[in-house]
């Protein structure tokens, strides 16, 4: 009997494949110690889950690493990866990345013996990502703070876009009604951390960096890295932060509330 994943499990999986796993590249690039490990690597690394509804019977995100350069192919299956972590179902993958690690959720690991060094390095990146995004308290040093804020911004912009592309009712309804608009996330003094989502008549695109074609319709702007982490790690209250000027809404507040709701939706799926 073929069991298809529920809508909620599918959406959760799309967040992992399309928004969370691409952060592997960011972490591997931004932490010099990890970046060094891939300087001489040439490999295709894939994380997949068996899914009868997927093309080739599985869903996957894979990375092509070439001398330290990373290409990310989200939600696309490579038929001959050098290394593969294959979960037995979408549910198993979701549970694993939500921290429920056990015999039922562990993936099959292929290519480990042939590529032990690359496998070990890749696992270190995954563990670092898990530690970063799962932390309950903000990091101490500025470099890690910047990396974490960037990861959260990318996760949220891509996550909202994935929800739209995969038919999340409320998000898609919102996107359908939208003229060509950009919503952005930013921290004062750190333009390199910015992320945005462009929305137009049902279509969305998550982008990285500052959007420069026009002024974003709405920007969720933080006055500092600590203020950003306060909201992103849910240790600060949005209203209090706005009143105190730690969070600045550039644009109409009603649209800020709306994007804030979708940020919480993404967080709900990913946690």
């Amino acid at each position: 009997m073929i069991l298809l994943a529920s809508k909620e499990e599918t959406l959760t999986n799309k967040i992992f494949l399309g928004a969370a796993l691409p952060l592997v590249k960011v972490i591997a690039n931004d932490i010099p110690k990890l970046a060094k490990k891939f300087e001489k690597t040439h490999a295709v690394i894939q994380i997949s889950a068996l899914d009868p509804a997927g093309p080739l019977g599985k869903v996957a995100t894979h990375f092509v690493v070439n001398s330290g350069e990373w290409l990310v192919h989200t939600d696309r299956v490579d038929t001959r990866p050098h290394i593969e972590l294959e979960f037995k179902s979408v549910e198993a993958m979701n549970a694993f990345f939500k921290g429920k690690i056990g015999p039922a959720t562990l993936p099959k690991m292929r290519g480990v013996l042939k590529n032990p060094g690359t496998f070990a390095s890749f696992m270190q990146v995954l563990l670092k990502m898990s530690a970063l995004l799962g932390a309950k308290t903000p990091p101490e040093d500025e470099a890690t703070k910047k990396l974490l804020v960037k990861c959260f911004f990318y996760l949220l912009s891509s996550g909202i876009s994935q929800l739209n592309k995969n038919g999340h009712e409320a998000v898609h309804e919102w996107a359908l009604k939208s003229p060509d608009r950009v919503y952005a996330w930013a921290v004062n003094g750190y333009p390199e951390l910015s992320a945005y989502i462009r929305v137009k008549a049902g279509k969305t695109k998550a982008g990285r960096g500052e959007y420069k074609r026009a002024m974003p319709f709405f920007t969720l702007r933080f006055d500092s890295l600590d203020s950003a982490l306060g909201i992103l790690m849910s240790t600060d209250d949005m209203l209090e932060a706005t009143k105190a000027g730690r969070l600045i809404m550039d644009g109409a507040p009603e649209f800020g509330a709306q994007i804030g709701e979708y940020m919480l939706t993404v967080a709900g799926y990913a946690q």
Partner: protein, 336 residues
Amino acid sequence: MAGGLTYTAVDSTQLSTAEYYGKALCELGREHPEIVALTADLGKSTKIGMFGEEFPDRFFNVGIAEQNMFGVAAGMAKAGLVPFLSTFSTFASLRSADQLHTDICYQNVNAKVIATHSGTSFGQAGSTHHAICDMAVTRSFPNLTVICPADGMETVNAVRAAYATPGPFYIRINRGFDRVLYPSTDYGFEVGKAVTLHEGTDITVIACGSCAFQALQAANFLDNTDGLKVRVLNMHTIKPIDREAVEKAVMDTRRIITVEDHSVIGGLGSAVAEVVVEFGKGCAFKKLGIQDQFAPIGLHEDIMSILGIDSNGIIDAVREVMKKDFELDDNWDDEV
């Protein structure tokens, strides 16, 4: 005078833009004895007659001879006086174009033309009294500053600024009955600097004259009904145009609509378009105004509605331009 008034005398006193002009000029006249006023037999209609009642020795009616009035004004200015001369916009810009061009602008004299009944504001008087190309003509004259105030308060500011700034001015005001945009003169008027009436990042509507009020009405309506955030700029100074505000509008909103009670050829829309093209950044663009035709004859509000330069016309245009693409990127894959 051609008729068809639908307002009471009280309304006309409260709302007439020219009335504000007359009062402002009298105030200036009390402070500055070098100010003189000239009319071509339209003292009452243009309200410059108010100055004549208070300062009969400094008021000159040259008769129905506009060209002479401009020549006389140029001579007075050369002699150290500051002449304010008023007639209908269509006569000031067309019948007297040669004298305005050569006697006043070429000599760069300190004369101030306050042209009334501009655009289609004297709609019921017919096409001979519609000034639909005065901005196109005057803004091409070197040395001339061209201003199109939005209401009475802005007219006061413009008249004061004209006195305070050496060189020739052309200020085009309506016959009257303009909707009130500003409750006072204290809102930061500056020659050559647009005033932001409504903030927004979806689209920018750049308007002048009576269309500025209509644009603000449209922006408020679209905010409430469509959730659209429309930036509205009151571009009161047509020359020198506020390049910075136009360029910022291009960069911020990438969609611009201009609205004017004037031909779309040569006026505000053309001035804004020149800046946009020279700036070199793409944006969706639409000009609202009189589309290369003579305007219909009737009451101003009706004509504005027919021409699509009232709030309803602006609302329709905003909805249309919002559908246009400014972003060439049609790849909707998320960046990773």
